[in-house]
């Protein structure tokens, strides 16, 4: 074990083992899911889980900020929306190749993160939450006012992006695996980031910003870099989302969407990265299931959220950990 991995959790401990087993399990399940979906003729599962993976990409980015940098941002959906709009606007001008659209999506989201981050990160606590929320709303209303690109109604994309001229994203199955690859790369990249020196400075600043500053780290710059990285990853999610739905709309950037992303991260348990994936799956599958039961599914889901916050802190992963812990104690080791 390198010292870097030890910083996440001591080798041999419960959470360290969970940190290897759970992600491996998640990705193995996601890799074999299409076979099961096709074998049982439940094709909709493919679309549903593609959606889960796309939002998981954004949720991982958000977890980087929430769980590791303690930056409670309420405007993450804006970056997803910017990425999606980059695809939509380029497509409407006849540029539909991912080799241009993807870098554009990342650049737009990253640039917006950089510019707004400069202002946002000067503020702390409540002000930070509010100012990120406000910038999110700003993009929302700006997109709504973009009359040439659909305005309120959104923009339909004629066809999915090509990759170097090849129509690789057209079939649901290949799109599924592209999304899976994006999620895997995102997960590994974020994982690498949080165990690196960069990640440790962020986590140190989360615990005690004053101490990190006196140690000589320019905390502001590290946080800004994290904010930009998270923005760009969300832009990637936006690129995928626009291609999945072949449609972009201001609704992608609404503050409710940002709230949902936070819930996804919290539901799984923040500060683990794989918790974000579990939480996203839990949220979207619950939504799918409840909305099939009743159109007023939020009447059930809303109070459930309140109960989770009041009683079950640490999310699903936290609950699993707690159960595993008590089982271990019960066995007496």
């Amino acid at each position: 074990m390198t010292p870097a991995t030890a910083a996440v959790a001591a080798p041999g401990t419960q959470s360290f083992r969970l940190g290897i087993i759970i992600p491996a399990l998640i990705f193995a399940l996601l890799a074999v899911l299409p076979a099961a979906a096709l074998a049982t003729a439940h094709d909709y599962l493919l679309d549903l889980f593609t959606r889960v993976m796309i939002f998981s990409v954004a949720a991982c980015a958000l977890d980087l900020l929430l769980g590791y940098a303690a930056l409670v941002t309420f405007g993450q959906a804006a970056f997803v929306g910017l990425g999606a709009y980059a695809v939509g606007i380029l497509a409407s001008h006849g540029i539909g190749d991912a080799l241009i659209a993807l870098p554009a999506a990342l650049a737009v989201a990253g640039l917006f993160a950089f510019v707004t981050g400069i202002v946002c990160l000067r503020t702390k606590g409540v002000y930070f939450i509010m100012i990120t929320l406000a910038f999110g709303q700003m993009t929302f209303f700006t997109a709504s006012a973009l009359a040439p690109y659909g305005g309120d109604d959104g923009l339909t994309i004629a066809s999915r992006s090509t990759i170097a001229g090849l129509r690789l994203l057209d079939s649901p199955l290949s799109f599924y695996y592209v999304a899976l690859a994006c999620l895997l790369v995102t997960f590994l990249f974020c994982r690498m980031l949080v165990v690196s020196r960069f990640g440790r400075v962020l986590r140190g600043a989360k615990e005690n910003p004053v101490r990190m500053t006196t140690l000589g780290y320019a905390v502001y710059r590290f946080q800004l870099a994290a904010y930009v990285v998270a923005g760009m990853i969300s832009g990637l999610a936006g690129f995928l989302l626009a291609n999945a739905t072949e449609f972009v709309s201001p609704a992608y950037m609404s503050w409710q969407r940002s709230g949902e992303l936070i819930i996804m991260v919290l539901l799984g348990g923040m500060g683990t990265l794989y918790g974000a994936i579990v939480g996203t799956a839990a949220y979207l599958l619950t939504e799918e299931w409840l909305s099939g039961v009743t159109e007023h599914w939020k009447v059930i889901f809303g109070p459930a959220l309140v109960l989770i916050v009041v009683f079950a802190r640490g999310g699903l992963i936290g609950a699993v950990g707690a159960v595993a812990e008590s089982a271990r104690r019960w066995r007496g080791d």
């Binding site: 202002v119 000067r122 939450i129 509010m130 006012a145 503050w255 809303g302």
Partner: protein, 307 residues
């Protein structure tokens, strides 16, 4: 652009401003005193409007409906505080955000179940309907003037209440030194409940007053909530005075920006791009204003002392 149009838009801006103040006042007090982020505050505004519609259809009297709706939002806010929010004080801000977000999801859907998804309307009271001639060629709806007047009256009452009463003194003390106030023998929990219920009632009042102009529909509180957040962030969290000034500022900038952005842009660019850029720029204006204020003063224009 004529002078009358400018005056009309200025009055509209003032009207939006006082409306924002009514909502932001409760929000900033809850923030300041309890350090609690209440996203569900916009829901109180929506409920105020819905309650007023129901009580109006029951009583047929606007004033009675207003009073009953105020009482109902007060009770509702207090119950919400008692059942849920008091368990979350002292928790992480993230917990506040999620729990109150859950309440928004629930209430927006519950309103659809109870009142239906279709927009409802509340008539303007007979005496106050119609328009009044303010100056030559300037007719202005009486009800909008009533909103401005009642908002300003609430602002004055609130000023007197916070600065010149005993409870107001406790609220001010509680907003900066809550543990000390508790140590001096004040039941800080009861004070919190009171502030919360009162803030909910103010938001409800805003909802009732705006209901005759806007349509009453689910989710109507969500957009105004964000504006109220912008107001309290610019004004400085916890400061009523800051909220008042920022509310009027936001109301005026937003309304005038939307009315004149295209005209102003046409001075510097061709008409057709101006018509495209204008609305987009106008809707960004208040957020840009907020960004500039926070860049220069990260804790707002009038930060409450001690935080």
């Amino acid at each position: 652009m004529s002078l009358t149009f400018l005056i009309v838009q200025t009055l509209n801006g003032l009207q939006l401003g006082v409306l924002l103040f009514l909502i932001a006042a409760g929000l900033t007090l809850v923030f300041g005193v309890m350090d609690f982020i209440n996203l569900a505050h916009g829901v109180q505004y929506m409920l105020g409007a819905y309650f007023a519609v129901t009580f109006y259809s029951l009583t047929g009297n606007f004033l009675l409906a207003l009073l009953l709706a105020l009482a109902a939002t007060l009770v509702f806010g207090t119950v919400l505080e008692f059942l849920i929010f008091r368990h979350l004080y002292g928790r992480d801000h993230l917990d506040h955000v999620i729990a109150t977000f859950g309440i928004i999801l629930f209430l927006n859907s519950a309103v659809k179940i109870v009142w239906g998804a279709a927009p409802l309307s509340l008539p303007i009271p007979e005496v106050l309907s119609g328009s009044v001639l303010l100056m030559d060629g300037l007719l202005y709806p009486v009800w909008r003037l009533v909103i401005i007047g009642s908002g300003l009256a609430v602002a004055v009452l609130l000023y007197v209440f916070v600065n010149h009463t005993r409870i107001g003194m406790l609220v001010r003390a509680g907003s900066t030194h809550a543990p000390m106030v508790a140590a001096l023998g004040v039941n800080i929990g009861r004070l919190f409940t009171l502030v919360f219920g009162f803030g909910a009632m103010l938001a409800g009042f805003a909802g009732v007053m705006i209901a005759p102009i806007l349509s009453v529909e689910p989710g109507m509180g969500d957009t105004i909530l964000i504006l109220a957040f912008v107001v309290i962030v610019i004004g400085g969290v916890g400061s009523i005075r800051g909220a008042f000034i920022a509310a009027l500022l936001i109301g005026l900038v937003d309304t005038l920006g939307r009315s004149f952005a295209v005209d102003i842009l046409r001075l510097v660019m061709a008409p057709s791009p101006a018509r495209t850029v204008g609305p987009a720029l106008a809707s960004m204006l208040i957020y840009l204003l907020m960004a500039v204020v926070l860049y220069l003063r990260p804790t707002g224009l009038f930060p409450a002392r001690g935080r």
